[in-house]
Symmetry: none
Subunit: 217 residues, 4 copies
DNA sequence: TATGAATGAGTCTTCATTCAT
DNA sequence: GATGAATGAAGACTCATTCAT
């Protein structure tokens, strides 16, 4: 019975894996999946290319792990918000804006995680195993929250939570990508209101939530 | 304004440039920016790789031009809708959904147009020359339409058209990217409503427009 | 109507191809197919590896051409003998020994030509296109000669030429390979008769022919 | 002669060596010398690559030993036949065909045993120590049998057993190699006799023996 | 004007081997 | 006695780009 699930050797191994992943992430976040080459990665961490293959059986494996870890990050953050007991309206807004903020914190990382070629599934909920994937679980949080909104009458009663979640996710995704790709986004002309990124995110989230709200006739 | 903007020689030159760009677009739209190699492009049009360099100083220049041309396409389509005399509500929805449909028709092309590393600016309206760029003009169409909505009371009176245009654009962008990257998007679980891509686009657009609508107290 | 089937440009191209092939053959003959690397080949002829790919689309193509050319050589030589009007007995023996002599002249080349991995067909006459391949045509010469021997009563009347040709080929192949792989073959102990390679080839051929001969009871 | 030829430690060592060799043979026989990599070998036996170097100073040494062991196998089999009291004609044929059958049972193994680059000596009988080597002893069996044939008048009286043995060996070798390298060998065209491998081996052996037979008058 | 030839740098990956532990 | 870690060299192959012709 292994009390500690990691032997000292294994711990060391994981530490190195982490070091590689961390270095990879830096390149990855700056230049995307195609910009990340084993060679350059090896140089960065003063390893031989061959050494990296001791820890990752292929470039794809490494990249996949990078992506998975990213969605884990999103999931954690979104969960933390969703599980709060804050009033629904705020909670919903927080939840959405958190998604964007996490994405924006590692913009290229986020972008690349979606530009996946090997089984790069987005929030598509009828794929096998989707519910278990990090991405899938994040999606379910979102859908659950919308369902709650419908239930308590905050959102339109004819709103299909699954559909709405997908639409909202797309809107969030759009803003995240915009910010990821356009350094100065969302700049506004002088003479018009200038709005900082943070505030704009809130504005955008507000628009999205308004799109779902019920209105007493 | 140069009266004779094109000498016969220059005209010929532009014709060939166009031919190259057209061929490039085919590959580009199918396989994205990374899939486009000068060599393979040259083969496609029965030219030598070297010949292409007579017309484009580098691959980047060619790709940039491709991106720019794409926004021209979007602009044209959006304009065509926006200039109609259709009732506002429909016109607005048409305008937004057209954007997505054009994007979705050439997914890689669209995605790549935003994934610009060289000078890929998004809809950032305080950049010099933005109003003249294709992208800028497309943005202005969108903003104009929202302003119109505010004016006629269809949209909330406190809505800043510039801000709202940017938010709406982001939402459209998000859906376009989702569809571009995820072949099966938006798939829905059986047992729940299954919705085809076309219908989902309409749904999404509807959500976005609702987010801007005014509601009598 | 092209009088000369090769333009000057094409001629130049073929010259270089030949140069590459020749250099490749040297390495190939010394170290076999696995020992031949594009890199080293490129170094040998002061070319860049990439340049070689302008003339051969892959290493396999290059190697295949090398092999094919070798069987062409065998074919030519065997043909030259077979078409003579020398008496049958001598002609048959000459024909077989020529095969061995050509093989032995480029021992590793010969060995490698058989060690083919990509469709390395030996004298297997029911494969599609076998009759047209160099190897196939060489085989047919051999079979024809044996058929002639059967017809004129020199060989056993119950001998199937196809079968016998295959058997004889195998015997020739065996000696060729022995000589190819064992530098000192066939050395004989002092005190016993010492026999030089040339004479041994004749002896071996004689044994093979005797195996087919008819004997009046 | 060392009485205690193996200390307990040494015995253990040899046991492990044997285990490694055995595992190596499996891979070797399937994929040939080039397909055998120390790494994969180590994986197969759950050893580290480094551990193997404790028992074999290099890959070459391991491979050489593998080859030698193969000839031991041939020797054993050939001996078993040669020592029988079967009538000479059958015994001779059995002996030869056994050689081929053993070779064909492990085609890569057989081929590689001859493709030696390091010290791969063939049946060359004037080399020092040849008579003691496995290969040498196998050769001697063959020569002995031919001598017997000459003596009892089955074979031509002017046949030099040493010479004939070498020739016969070459013929056997040829067929073995053909079968080793060409999966479909010996296929025969339909419309002609189709002959299975087993039967063809017998036919070939028959040819070889006939080449040596004496003919009255 | 257009091109065939050539290249240098780069891609991922595998190998036999060594060494400190 | 065994190993995990690491490496340098090499493998095939592709790319954007230049230059003499």
């Amino acid at each position: 019975m292994t009390v500690a699930t990691s032997s000292p050797a294994e711990r060391r191994r994981n530490k190195i894996r982490a070091r590689i992943l961390s270095a990879a992430e830096t390149v990855f976040a700056r230049e995307g999946a195609e910009g990340l080459s084993i060679r350059r990665l090896a140089e960065n961490i003063d390893y031989s290319p061959a050494a990296i293959y001791k820890y990752f059986s292929s470039k794809d494996e490494l990249v996949d792990e990078l992506k998975e870890s990213f969605f884990e990050l999103i999931l954690e953050n979104v969960h933390r918000i969703a599980d709060t007991s804050t009033p629904f309206a705020d909670r919903a807004r927080d939840c959405l804006s958190t998604y964007i903020r996490v994405a924006v914190a590692k913009p290229h990382h986020y972008a690349a995680a979606f530009a996946g070629e090997s089984g790069g599934t987005g929030p598509v909920d009828n794929e096998p195993g989707f519910d278990q994937s990090k991405k899938g679980r994040a999606f379910n949080v979102l859908r659950g929250m919308i369902a709650e909104g419908v239930e308590i009458g905050a959102f339109r009663s004819d709103l299909d939570p699954s559909l709405a979640a997908k639409s909202a996710w797309a809107s969030m995704h759009g803003l995240a990508m915009m910010i990821a790709h356009i350094p100065t986004y969302p700049a506004l002309k002088d003479g018009q209101k200038t709005m900082a990124r943070e505030a704009f995110i809130d504005f955008h989230v507000d628009q999205v939530v308004r799109g779902m709200e019920a209105h007493d006739e």
